[in-house]
Point group: C2
Chain length 329, copies 2
């Protein structure tokens, strides 16, 4: 349906979506649409999984989408107690440079802080009139005021690019973010005037942590790869990673390895290798030609390249951060 | 405690308050404090009771308060479904001119729209983090998102004048608005850093409708005096008003009238007469010297003067509305 799929799409890292035909049509017909994602500046670190967010956003950017990145500073204040100043600092010194280092083109991206975009806020307050308490409770369970303010503000964000001209939009998210998409889509449907085009979404898998737990995160730091992180430390983690290796070398030479359950292979697949490299790794593993140690070495080399590249681009982007012109309205 | 009390204060129309000593001290010592009220632009009419709001705001303005009037356009959108454009039109064409016609000095007043004041919004989102769902439910019963957004935004408004410099503030309100004051005061107390000075408040009685129901309102239109309203129509309502008159003339001449339960006297007391006039009316009524018809005539004359004065000032203020410089930040 989509042209020139990116690796995440080809390899099943992107595994689901809503109303994708609308976006495919806009790409093919070169009509206006947008892609949007938000940064929640709750710490000074992201993990490798963020690479998937940026890749998918960049995919739509490269295929003609107006691209928006917002800093969810109001939400960070309401739902996490992060001060607005702290959010601003983190966004400028860390998150935005990291997103650019991961491949986003800042010249083609529109950035804003929620707290500086009164159009977003107005839309959020208007929407709150049509969102019921029962919807919030059913979707989030949590009905604390800070959570409600956040949820409604996200609607403001997701619809912001349509305020001047109605157009399709796509939000690439982790599956845990689907409730926000549903809330926004429900709100759009309540507006019988057809003020807004419905929202599309794609969902991507988490990057699992290297011990096999479901996602890389701060709480699984010893098996998660952070950005930035010292390359030595990353390589150590890869060397300790859970693989699909057999109990003995003899067994592995005979039966072959199990890339399907190997976290090093998952890393190769989600983030590091091109199609040819990945195919080669898969075959050599399945056939028993290559053992886990060697395979980890290949992964480590690629990861070192990636980390060096990331670090270089990150520092460049940081120097250029003042060139970014944030939307204020 | 306060110097030079206004009529509403002297006559028990203002009947309660919180932490008034703090404000009295600021007045006496000429240290900075503020008074603030909000306009909720839900219609194109106010009723006479609004005169009390303005008088009390003006009292503090005349006694040295920084004075703020905000247009609650975000709240009107969230809680009442009034569009932001409609709120703006109503505020400019009607509410603000009416407040000026009722005595407010626009040169000494700072005006803003909630939707244009990101400092207010930031404060509201920060506050939402520390307000619990249970507090909202206990105070308002209603826990719809629009109501929660409104409640939290009011905290942003009430604390806005303190963002740059902590200082005492007073909010003159009808007693039904006390929950908002309590929510804001509770929030202030949660901030152990003493970022904000606590809020003071005064409470005024409603202007009863002329048939004796508890307050003038749109739902009791036939006995309520609107601003603006055709003077003929107002006078008719006064002539139909419930008084403290006796069943027969003879009885009234002997026993005297009952100004305590007379709605014309209440109108005289709350809005129309100076001390000497009011004293004269009271005595002539109690002694049976004057009957209700004559007394209504006196009230009608004063009301005609008031309405003419209001209309003239209202149209002047409307012409000058473009001179008002709304805070945007």
């Amino acid at each position: 349906m989509f042209p020139n799929l990116n690796n995440a799409m080809k390899r099943g890292v992107v595994f689901a979506g809503r109303d994708l035909k609308i976006i495919a049509k806009a790409i093919h017909e070169k009509t206006p649409f947008y892609a949007l994602t938000g940064i929640m500046p709750t710490s000074e670190q992201i993990h490798l999984g963020t690479k998937t967010v940026v890749e998918n956003l960049k995919y739509f950017q490269d295929n003609g989408a107006e691209t928006y990145i917002l800093v969810a500073d109001l939400e960070a204040a309401a739902a996490r107690g992060v001060s607005l100043d702290e959010s601003r600092k983190r966004a400028l010194n860390f998150y935005i440079p990291a997103y650019i280092a991961l491949g986003l083109d800042p010249k083609k991206t529109r950035f804003y802080f929620q707290s500086e975009n009164t159009s977003v806020i107005k839309t959020a307050f208007e929407a709150s009139r049509q969102i019921t308490f029962n919807e919030i409770r059913a979707i989030y369970g949590n009905t604390e005021p800070g959570r409600i303010m956040s949820a409604v503000t996200q609607i403001g964000d997701m619809l912001y690019p349509q305020l001047k001209h109605r157009k399709p939009g796509i939000i690439p998210v982790g599956i845990d973010q689907d409730p926000h998409i549903r809330l926004a889509r429900d709100y759009i449907n309540k507006n019988r005037s057809k003020r807004f085009s419905t929202l599309s979404s794609i969902y991507y898998k988490y990057t699992p942590s290297l011990d096999g737990s479901i996602k890389m995160s701060k709480s699984a730091a010893s098996a998660s790869i952070s950005l930035p992180e010292d390359t030595e430390s990353v390589l150590k983690k890869i060397k300790r990673a859970k693989t699909g290796g057999r109990n003995t070398e003899a067994e592995q030479r005979t039966l072959g390895g199990q890339p399907e359950i190997c976290l090093v292979f998952e890393l190769d697949k989600q983030h590091l290798m091109d199609d040819k490299e990945l195919d080669d790794i898969y075959k050599k593993c399945k056939s028993g030609k290559r053992l886990c140690g060697e395979c980890k070495g290949i992964c480590c080399n690629k990861m070192t390249e990636f980390m060096n590249d990331f670090n270089r681009k990150f520092h460049e982007a940081k120097k250029d951060i003042t060139k970014i012109d944030f939307i204020k309205e």
